[in-house]
């Protein structure tokens, strides 16, 4: 999976050249790096403090959805990019299997929602668009979110 392929999944999206790429093992201790990445980029693009907090949480939930609960040995790569209208975060986790879905390890259902639904609800509210996809051939789960940039 290449970043170009991921970017191609967004019709009409024309990313600038200053994309940032972060690749790391799927290790929960490192997920804070994903939040740091989006904080830095969003700050540079003029998002306010509240939006940056929202993006930090949204990226955390996206990473959580994509890595599942047992992605040992896998790697996650995140791409941050933007155009005039939006900030976009893409991620890809490989190798994973379809059964590696997110669980909290604590409770299977929270407030009537499975953990996956809980993450999706957070993303529904905090991002302007998001999604995930599993490709069986490459054993890769990809995810993305985007948020509209504040007016200049």
């Amino acid at each position: 999976v290449t970043s170009d392929a991921l970017m191609g999944s967004a019709p009409g999206y024309q990313a600038t050249d200053d994309r940032v790429e972060l690749s790391m093992p799927v290790s929960p201790e490192l997920f804070a790096l994903a939040r740091m990445l989006v904080s830095l980029v969003a700050s540079r693009l003029g998002f306010d403090y509240e939006d940056i907090c929202d993006l930090r949480l949204a990226v955390d939930e996206l990473v959580s959805l994509c890595t599942g609960s047992r992605a040992n040995g896998a790697r996650i790569t995140l791409w941050s990019s933007h155009d005039a209208d939006m900030l976009r975060i893409d991620c890809a986790v490989c190798p994973v299997t379809p059964s590696q879905t997110k669980t909290t390890g604590e409770v299977e259902v929270i407030a009537g929602l499975a953990p996956v639904q809980l993450s999706e609800r957070v993303l529904d509210v905090l991002a302007d668009g998001h999604g995930t996809r599993f490709d069986a051939a490459s054993m890769t789960r990809t995810g993305w979110l985007w948020k509209l940039r504040p007016p200049a």
């Binding site: 201790e29 907090c53 939930e61 909290t104 390890g105 929270i110 407030a111």
Partner: protein
């Protein structure tokens, strides 16, 4: 990194166990909060979780809080939250868990809650 981004301690205020967390609660640090909550005496009639110094809380952390809430309910106890930071209040609101917990805006208010 885990040791540096979340600190959890348990104290007692007027006999009420208060689990105070400070830092970021995510998938890597949530087990520390879970362990601290599991160590709270089961005979307590209520437990307060002070999230005043929590700067980040994700759905994994929420899962820990919900599990603790269930355990308390089964033991006939309440689990109350102290939330002061907007970003923590927001995730509770988004997930509608603010309806499940008693949420207070200060530790003093939570401790002095009428039983």
């Amino acid at each position: 990194m885990t040791d540096e981004i979340l600190e959890v301690v348990t104290n007692f205020e007027n006999g009420v166990p208060v689990v105070s967390a400070g830092g970021e609660v995510d998938v890597s640090t949530a087990p520390r909060l879970r362990e601290q909550l599991a160590a709270v005496p089961v005979d307590a009639s209520r437990v307060i979780v002070d999230l005043s110094d929590v700067t980040f809380l994700d759905s994994t952390g929420l899962g820990v809080l919900v599990a603790a809430w269930k355990k308390c309910r089964e033991a006939g106890a309440d689990l109350d939250l102290v939330v002061t930071r907007p970003q923590v209040a927001k995730v509770l609101e988004i997930t509608r868990l603010d309806d499940m917990f008693n949420v207070f805006s200060s530790l003093e208010e939570a401790v002095s809650r009428d039983k």
